[in-house]
């Protein structure tokens, strides 16, 4: 088929193909290694006692129940704030904003936010929420820091889904005499459910994996609290606990057990994001 191609060209083609295949194989192998290694090291360390108790200095045992609870609390309280804020900002950008310059400024701000490293969020969160607003080192301060961090994510996914609401729907509603708010409530908001769900999944993934921003805002404590009480207290999430056990205490068994849990949750979230994306796409095409 490829007769008439000079030897030099053929060598180039072979080389590039080999390099491409090799790179893709390296990438895939890396992922496979990471998943298998973490699971193989971590799963045997998991036990019911580890999952259902808190660390005790008396018996010298380690349990990660408080860290699991803290993670759940932080995820819930971050989502409660970030979903309405992000979705509202997206509605403003797509439905209300007339001033092109203002839109550009807001979008630039969102891009800037998504590029800021989490350690800087942690620092400013510590200065603003913990010191200035006097929340001390607490889960709530951590959650509010993460709200700012995840704002651009929810904003973007909602904006994307609002763009797929056909203009004719809005015009139809206006034509029937609906006011702006009514159009938004009945036509636009139902259209952004996709985006909010996707933004929600992505945010949960990011919150679950976040550590640098929480180190100085939510702290290290390992005590078991109820939800509202917990928000006022300092507490480590799973990632912060992993860091603490591995780096400060050399408890690699516990660290790997947490890593295995995080890895499993990462896989679940990726799967959920993929399925949600596919489902929404199919529904849109109908």
């Amino acid at each position: 088929m490829q007769t008439g191609i000079s030897r030099k060209r053929r060598a180039y083609i072979l080389l590039m193909r080999a390099l491409m295949g090799l790179s893709a194989a390296v990438t895939a192998a890396l992922v496979l290694f990471l998943v298998v290694y973490v699971m193989a090291k971590g799963l045997p360390e998991l036990s019911w006692t580890l999952l259902s108790t808190k660390p005790s200095y008396l018996t010298g045992s380690i349990g990660i129940l408080p860290d699991i609870l803290n993670t759940v609390y932080i995820i819930l309280s971050t989502l409660v704030f970030v979903l309405p804020l992000g979705a509202g900002a997206a509605v403003y950008l797509t439905e209300y904003a007339r001033n092109k310059k203002l839109v550009a400024v807001i979008e630039y701000a969102a891009e800037t936010l998504s590029g800021i490293p989490s350690i800087i969020y942690g620092l400013v969160g510590m200065l603003f929420f913990c010191s200035f607003l006097d929340m001390q080192t607490s889960l709530l301060a951590g959650a509010l820091t993460l709200v700012v961090m995840n704002l651009p994510t929810v904003l973007r996914t909602t904006q994307e889904s609002l763009k797929t609401v056909p203009q004719s729907y809005r015009e139809g509603a206006f034509g029937l005499g609906a006011g702006k708010w009514r159009v938004i409530r009945t036509v636009v908001l139902p259209g952004c459910v996709d985006g909010i769900v996707t933004g929600c999944i992505l945010s949960v993934g990011r919150i679950l994996g976040e550590s640098a921003a929480l180190l100085f805002t939510a702290g290290f404590a390992h005590a078991v609290h109820g939800f509202f009480e917990g928000l006022e207290h300092s507490g480590a999430t799973l990632t912060v606990a992993l860091y603490f056990y591995a780096k400060e205490q050399g408890q690699f068994g516990v660290a790997f057990a947490i890593a295995a849990i995080l890895m499993a949750l990462t896989l679940v979230i990726q799967l959920a994001a993929m399925l949600a994306g596919r489902w929404f796409k199919r529904r849109r095409e109908q």
Partner: protein, 287 residues
């Protein structure tokens, strides 16, 4: 009349929500500047940025952050040197060459890579990479700049792959068809037509990777040894990010203020990178 008032009330609420992102960026900027300036004033800008010794807890403390700046720059450069070729070639493969099923599997794997928490990278780096480097290169301690480079290279892969794929897939099919019709093989077309056509997007991918690498803290903290040395491949080093993270919990006075100044320097780096990213993204859209 009542309805009109209600509508403008709703408008006001959405306007406020829309402006929240701008407010957050302003807040972060103002806070970093206000808390970062005092220490720089006291130490002296030149001495702070170009001082070679960081000894924040010594009797006569010295606050030179050149080691951190250079470590961050070298570490990022090393991560790019390792990660960009692999990421770029993977992206070309996935966007153009891969059979659909392979593409689904490998892109799924890439998004898993993006989702793994940085502390997990740090943990695996600590227990696999660091001892590996020690044994392979016969150095006393594997916790080094090299270990950080490798970990960062893996962590930036997904950014590079995903953004490059988007750019490559946006290349008009006519360009490729024309090239094929002129007798170029598919492989030649991908690398000599598609890649140059997508170069702005690929540049954006690289810049995004630089931003990710320079901002990463936890994974780097776990594998780089965290001593404030001038950077050298097999030595324990400290990055801008880890300099802030490692001393924050016990710092006070001028030392604490100097940490805020380091964060300000890091923030300026990030703003520059963001501006570059925007430039490339915009140019990609225009062409």
């Amino acid at each position: 009349m009542k309805k009109k008032a209600f509508e403008s009330f709703v408008y006001g609420i959405f306007l406020i929500l829309g402006l929240i992102t701008v407010g957050c960026v302003l807040l972060i900027t103002v806070y970093l500047i206000l808390s970062g300036i005092p220490a720089i004033r006291e130490i002296g800008l030149f001495k702070f940025l170009f001082g070679k010794t960081w000894a924040s807890t010594a009797k006569t403390p010295q606050f030179g952050i050149l080691p951190f700046i250079l470590t961050s720059v070298y570490g990022t450069a090393g991560a790019m040197a390792l990660g960009v070729p692999v990421g770029f070639l993977t992206a070309v493969y996935l966007a153009k060459a891969a059979p659909p099923r392979v593409k689904t599997v490998v892109s799924g794997a890439v998004s898993v890579l993006a989702g793994i928490p940085s502390v997990v990278y740090g943990l695996v780096g600590m227990l696999v990479l660091v001892p590996g480097i020690r044994r392979f290169f016969h150095v006393p301690d594997g916790a080094s700049l090299l270990a950080a480079m490798v970990v960062l290279a893996v962590m930036i892969l997904p950014s590079i792959v995903n953004v490059s794929i988007t750019a490559l897939e946006a290349v008009p099919k006519e360009y490729e068809d024309a090239s094929l019709a002129l007798g170029a093989t598919p492989t030649e077309t991908w690398f000599r037509v598609s890649v140059p056509a997508a170069r702005s997007g690929i540049a954006a991918a690289v810049v995004l990777g630089v931003g990710r690498a320079i901002g990463e803290a936890m994974a780097v903290m776990m594998v780089s040894g965290n001593v404030a040395n001038m950077p050298s491949l097999f030595q324990s080093v400290r990055f801008l990010t880890t300099a802030v993270a490692s001393e924050m919990s016990y710092s006070s006075g001028l030392q604490r203020q100097a940490l805020f100044s380091i964060a300000l320097v890091l923030y300026l780096f990030i703003l520059l990178i963001n501006a570059a990213l925007n430039f490339f993204l915009k140019r990609g859209k225009e062409s």
